[in-house]
Symmetry: C2
Subunit: 317 residues, 2 copies
């Protein structure tokens, strides 16, 4: 596998679409800020996925004329060992599509929407960067799944494309001054899924419209990639979001009775066992008398309690 | 089921522990700000879960002397229809524990940690409000699952309790001026799970220490409940967190290649089918010539592209 092959690079070099892994990776590697990929050094070839044709090969799995998907970067030719190079065959229908709809952007759209977004028929799905390779795919999968799809894009032409060609129900121009109001009107039932690709003011407009149990696959934050650093100002939402994205973190609000009511038997069995076996200790802070309830409550909010606060009103036996 | 029974209320009235559903509900219902529960009206009985004893009953499922778990609020007696009243029997071992370890706080700890937190042996779990009914349970379940558990509590006495009685590996006092530094030192391997119960400065100290693929079950934000309103200031993290909690939202960062690499075959089959059947449209913006790559890339970051940006370097066939 270490035999070297020549490959003609870059027939087609993606300069990445909005959002998606690649966008973050490529822009992120242009700075030496901590990220999940090391920075590109000065003098090195700029990184990027490529679709290329093999010029000559000593590798048994690749022959002259084969189309390949690789990560050869911004250059005309490359030499590859064959590792991490995917053979697309002699005659793929659209070679460059392996950089988009059939590659990482399409895959991100598919998994992010279906696995994290969990779309259900009749739900409202909002998609930023609606005509980018990720957003366009997200919206169209959303339509296949029966969602009402509201796109957000920059400019009338893109918005028209999203509706007329991609089949979105609606697409709003985020350049409009009253964009947030337009979005609220466009989503009278609120937003069930927001596929986050851009961050910034689109997220701000989405936030108050999110429905209970909404899902936000956080795939990219392209609006912030060009900032020279994360804002060190008082608003730390950009910092939080960048952290969640880079570190692939799940942050999930839950309300026990509403989210897990159906699993209470499992809990009671397991916890009953642990408590009985003294694997779990439990501490109460008993206050006597209903008239103590308000002060006790205030004390609890201020952290002056120690253990579960319980007010004893009558005799306990 | 609508026959009324008398019940003696409130043997034990919980005035809620830190965090958990009840805390948010009770404090939240003291204001008329929009929330998932309606506000308590002036003159109405303040809401709260209760453990009570039945004084007399016309209901077939409840007899005099039965202990019951109900939601009767801050008062001495209540009349209940029997709906939403759980019979604990004649002689439960610790009647009031149904308000804590064996009730909603214990259940929130159990589900939040196990289902959202997904603890694995050897991971670092940080638990705020470490001696509260939720936090104490979270930390102890964490130990059962083999985690290194770092508690956070207010005051030395609580911290000592967390370590000596509950068996946490460590517990830090959030009143310390150098709390954030202490936390960093206490978590040399970073934080894999942060069970969020308090918000505010504990979250601020946790954020930079979170590991890749960390999980944050967001169960409560008690540090903010007493604020008269959500800060309208420039920092909107409190607003975001309150929204995620109230609406039980899942916000999840992901990086497609790293999170879903193992499911690429499924994607390629499904997407290949959709593209072939023209259920999904795809648009590329081709730029010719490698020398156009930088300008094209900049244009994409600024939103001047339309569709997946691809730079064509050589002939495409």
């Amino acid at each position: 596998m270490l035999t070297h092959c020549w490959q003609e690079t870059i027939r087609l070099c993606p300069v990445i679409g909005r959002g998606g892994d690649a966008g973050y990776k490529v822009r992120g590697r242009m700075s030496d800020a901590p990220s999940y990929s090391p920075p590109v050094k000065i003098g090195e070839v700029m990184c990027g996925a490529t679709v290329s044709r093999v010029v000559s090969s000593l590798h048994p799995d690749f022959a002259e004329g084969d189309w390949v998907l690789a990560y050869s970067g911004w250059q005309d030719y490359d030499i590859a060992s064959g590792d991490d190079v995917i053979n697309l065959g002699k005659d793929p229908q659209h070679p460059s599509w392996s950089l988009g709809i059939l590659g990482m952007p399409g895959f991100a759209a598919y998994m992010g929407l279906l696995d994290i977004g969990q779309p259900k028929a009749g739900e409202t799905l909002v998609v930023a960067a609606a005509t980018g390779p990720v957003g366009a795919t997200v919206g169209q999968i959303g339509k296949i799944k029966g969602c009402r799809v509201v796109g957000v894009a920059g400019g009338k032409e893109k918005c028209r494309h999203a509706v007329e060609v991609l089949g979105f129900d609606l697409c709003l121009d985020h350049h409009a001054e009253d964009f947030a109001e337009q979005l609220a009107i466009a989503c009278p039932q609120g937003i069930d899924i927001y596929f986050e690709n851009v961050g910034g003011k689109v997220f701000d407009a989405v936030l108050p419209l999110l429905n209970t149990q909404a899902r936000i696959p956080l795939c990219g934050l392209v609006s912030g990639y060009n900032a020279t650093e994360l804002p060190d100002g008082p608003d730390r939402i950009p910092l939080l979001m960048a952290t969640l994205l880079k570190k692939r973190i799940r942050l999930q609000g839950f309300i026990i009775s509403q989210d897990y009511g159906h699993r209470i038997n499992e809990f009671q069995q397991e916890m009953g066992k642990w408590v009985k076996q003294e694997m779990i200790h439990y501490r109460e802070q008993l206050t006597e008398g209903l008239e103590q309830a308000p002060q006790t409550f205030i004390g609890m909010l201020e952290g002056r309690n120690f253990g579960k606060v319980v007010v004893q009103v009558g005799p306990s036996r």
